[in-house]
Amino acid sequence: MDRVDGTDHYEGDKQGPGPSLLVIVLDTNPHAWALLNPTLPLSKAISNLLVFINAHLASHNANQVAVVASHCHRSVWLYPRPEPPSEDVEMKDNAPALNDANKYRPFALIEDSLLTSLRELISTTTENDISTTNTTQMAGSLTLALTYINKATLLFSDSNVTSEPMSTTLEGPENTTGLQSRILVISVSGDLAHQYIPIMNTTFAAQRMRVPIDILKLAGDTVFLQQASDTTKGIYMQLRNPQGLLQYLMMAFLPDQTSRKNLVAPTQEVVDFRAACFCHRKVVDVGFVCSICLSIFCSPSEGAICLTCSTHLALGDYGSKPAVVPRKKKKKRKLNGGVGTPSSRGGTPMPNE
């Protein structure tokens, strides 16, 4: 390959850790932020986040960042902003902020774009939007983040001609020279049980792509985000003191994957592995799983028919009343037609074929 573009002098850099892409998913659920307002207003959180973003960008000259807002009814890109549909870009907003001599221009660009998008998002939110829901589109935002990461990874390996061709399979050995991506979720709302399946799907996609999902939990509690970080080997932190947000960001979430190999992650060790049932979206301790389609239910369905795939299931001995008194009469009758050999798979519903 002819190195006419003069990338030769980057050769030495190749040995060092590669750049990393940080995709931040910011939960902008208005309900949750209103509750959090006395301790940590959104504006303060954004300022802290901007400092964190700047720190991330400063730690490697090729580091990238992207921010998605997970709002109450939609997910919106805050940075990079989507191309405006019309040609004429409003110049009056951008001009003054970007001409600030005291600010590094890339930082100012991100700050400007992020704030503009956020204000737009909030100004377009209607009362109706807020009153009709109390959750946030976390699963959608995670999906957006993953697609962005995928695109960025491909783009990076394309443009980087000096690097070896990236293996197409994402499961290959960890590449240290390629773009390292991670997702940071700043979550304020709980109650994501309704999005259990999509969230778990994105989690497993992230696991396959070796993208850790870090969770910074300002308020609320969500079982599934904890599982997401655990599955993808990310960091989960439930903040004891939301006012120290900056400290948490800089200390726990700034190191990229390369550095994390040498650090002990401050993640919480107890993970709630419970799942939500498919029928009522309840988080269940004991669930019933269809052996055909693996749907989870909180109670055996009526007539032992799986609600999802309509398979007839045999429940075995389950649910029979415990018999503690021996039968007085010598009448032999076995309940449920049980064979009397409950093996270790006694309780597993089997397809009734």
Partner: protein, 639 residues
């Protein structure tokens, strides 16, 4: 001619009745409603072999090999038991009577050839069927939980291989309540472990097949003399795989000494050729063996293969004449060409060796009940399916429903957060938010950008450590940052102990290895009994209620056992403390200095035991509570 034992069975697709005649001399099949001239009668004395479909197979068929003294070949009869009510039972009845009669006959007349040796042609077949039928028997056993549970031999050998399981078994056996008999205990113990038993049964019944024996024999040169170890089985295998060597051996061994034969053979060119190695000029010659170099020797198994009926779809040789001639065209690959033995000897040798090895292995996928000749499967393989219409899909349909349609309206559970959110007025929420992100309120600098250094609220010089109560904590205050740092460091610390801190010493928590082992065993047995309890308790079988009461007793005793371990641990700890005190006293007497006794630094003791067993103790309580609840529900006082 009424039969004693009979069953309805189809023969050559005709319905009829199969039975044994009253004089017990022959087996008779009478077609349904037809005249007796179509009947089939087989003399029991002529039956050389019986085959039956395995117990698990849906079709019940009995195959009878008949060979009358004057007939050259055995004739097979296949009966398909098709009684609507109980084909298996009828088949078994007929078969049992037949086996009894045959064995009685054989005992009387020793000259009757045994089934396996009746005719050389059928010997392989009989052997194959013997293997398959035995496999069928064992396979049936794997799937039967009850058979596994009563197979003491299997259990014993499994425990021999797994000492920890043996320990659990012995401990549980020792501490079981006297009211449970040994056999009851045994079946309970194994009923929870049928999966392990099954895996073990499968594992032990697997055998190694034959291997390329010539490459396994490694002669070595010792003091200029060739030494080798060759066992009788290996010689057997060599003869099996290489009939040529058998021939050479036959023709030469009386003349040659046996040892000399083998040692010369392993140096000969013939050996190299059979092994597939290239023969080089420097190889020594041996007139005895070199004579056979060109012998197109190994036709034995090939012939046997040719004797087999190979379906045309997979018969490559059948297509040979369709190739485009030897000169160009679709010339076969050189490894496939007839006369290129010399060019790629190793490939050919390995191929032919594999062929030979496979020829000696009884096929495992042959259903003994299949009729000889073209079976249905072969016919299906030969049929031109492309010319037929679309075949019926043989799949289980999964009707996946869109889940949201039946869940969306059910917001039954409202979480704590959702309840809080519901209290808020949407308009207020929105206006607050808009106000919050308003450029005027976000520490904007004159230029329009955000003044981050003031926005994050960190004041470099603030000394909030000294006067914390004076200020209301704000975002980025020193106290909050310190608190955050503490939390992160706590997380790091607990992670670190998790990663590196779990060495052997600390995992014992100060208990001695002896006590700890006892505790492990107690834990294992307790879990064992809990397992049994829940199995019986949830079975809902009133016949097992008595057993259940005994199980509850056992659980109570399990608690006692934990306590006794705890007491012993306490005693152990006391002993250690006593020794420490003694040391301190000695030290005091020697030096006059008093050392402080730090008893909290000494680990172990009953407390640690109870901490370790806490989850188990909880489950024990839970089990007893559930049992009492069920008793109360039945109206029985649980005083």
């Amino acid at each position: 001619m009424a039969s004693i034992t009979k069953g309805s069975a189809a023969y050559k697709k005709k319905d009829g009745t199969l039975g044994i005649t009253q004089n017990e001399k022959s087996l008779q099949w009478l077609p349904l409603g037809a005249s007796a001239d179509k009947a089939v009668t087989i003399a029991i004395a002529d039956i050389t072999n019986l085959q039956q479909t395995p117990e698990t197979a849906p079709k019940v068929m009995l195959k009878i090999f008949e060979k009358s003294p004057d007939a050259p070949e055995a004739v097979t009869h296949l009966f398909h038991f098709n009684s609507p009510s109980n084909p298996r039972g009828e088949a078994n009845a007929v078969k049992d009577v037949l086996t009894n009669l045959i064995s009685a006959l054989k005992a009387k007349d020793a000259s009757v050839p045994t089934a396996n040796g009746s005719a050389p042609a059928s010997a392989a077949m009989a052997m194959a069927s013997a293997v398959t039928s035995k496999q069928g028997l064992v396979a049936a056993k794997w799937f039967d939980d009850n058979a596994l549970k009563v197979d003491i031999e299997l259990q014993q050998s499994l425990m021999k291989k797994d000492p920890s399981l043996h320990g659990t078994y012995m401990e549980a056996l020792r501490t079981k309540p006297d009211t449970i008999s040994n056999s009851q205990f045994n079946s309970q113990f194994w009923s929870t472990r049928t999966n392990i038993l099954r895996a073990f049964a499968v594992e032990t019944s697997q055998k190694k097949g034959s291997y390329n024996v010539l490459s396994a024999v490694k002669p070595r040169q010792v003091d200029g003399e060739l030494k080798m170890n060759i066992s009788a089985e290996q010689i057997q295998l060599i003869f099996n795989q290489h009939p040529l060597i058998k021939r050479v051996y036959d023709e030469n061994v009386p003349k040659l000494h046996e040892n000399e034969f083998w040692s010369r053979f392993f140096l000969s060119r013939l050996f190299k050729k059979l092994k597939g190695e290239r023969i080089v000029e420097t190889d020594g010659t041996d007139p005895t063996f070199d004579r056979y170099l060109d012998a197109t020797a190994d036709i034995g198994p090939i012939q046997r293969l040719l004797g087999l009926h190979i379906p045309n779809v997979i018969d490559l040789e059948g297509n040979q004449e369709n190739q485009g001639g030897s000169k160009g065209g679709n010339r076969a690959d050189f490894t496939m060409r007839q006369n290129s033995v010399a060019k790629v000897p190793i490939v050919r040798i390995l191929n032919s060796l594999s062929e030979k090895i496979m020829a000696n292995v009884a096929p495992s996928d042959v259903d003994p009940a299949d009729p000889i000749g073209m079976d249905e499967e072969t016919f299906n393989a030969l049929a031109l399916r492309d010319l037929q219409g679309d075949s019926e899909e043989n799949r289980i349909m999964l009707n996946i429903k869109q889940q949201s349609q039946f869940f969306a309206n059910e917001k039954s559970e409202v979480s704590a957060e959702a309840a809080l959110y519901a209290k808020q007025v949407p308009a207020e929420v929105l206006s607050n938010m808009r106000f919050d992100v308003n450029p005027q309120h976000m520490n904007h600098r004159v230029g329009g950008g955000l003044d981050l250094s003031s926005a994050i609220g960190v004041i470099e010089d603030s000394d909030s450590d000294e006067e914390p109560e004076k200020k209301v904590p704000h975002v980025g205050s020193k106290s909050s940052l310190n608190d955050a740092k503490d939390q992160i460091l706590e997380g790091v610390k607990s992670r670190r102990t998790e990663i590196i801190g779990s060495d052997a010493q600390s995992s014992l928590s100060g208990l001695s290895q002896k006590i700890f082992d006892r505790l492990t065993l107690t834990h294992a047995t307790t879990t064992e009994f809990l397992h049994h309890f829940w199995l019986v308790f949830l079975s809902g079988d009133p016949d097992r209620a008595g057993e259940l009461a005994k199980m509850v007793e056992t659980l109570e005793r399990a608690m006692d056992r934990i306590n006794s371990v705890a007491n012993d641990a306490d005693a152990e700890r006391d002993e250690i403390i006593r020794r420490h005190k003694q040391q301190i006293r000695d030290h005091f007497e020697r030096t006059g200095k008093k050392l402080p006794l730090n008893s909290s630094a000494i680990g172990g003791g009953g407390k640690v035991v109870r901490e370790m067993m806490e989850p188990t103790i909880k489950t024990l309580h839970k089990a007893t509570k559930e049992y009492k609840k069920a008793l109360t529900a039945e109206g029985i006082d649980t005083s």
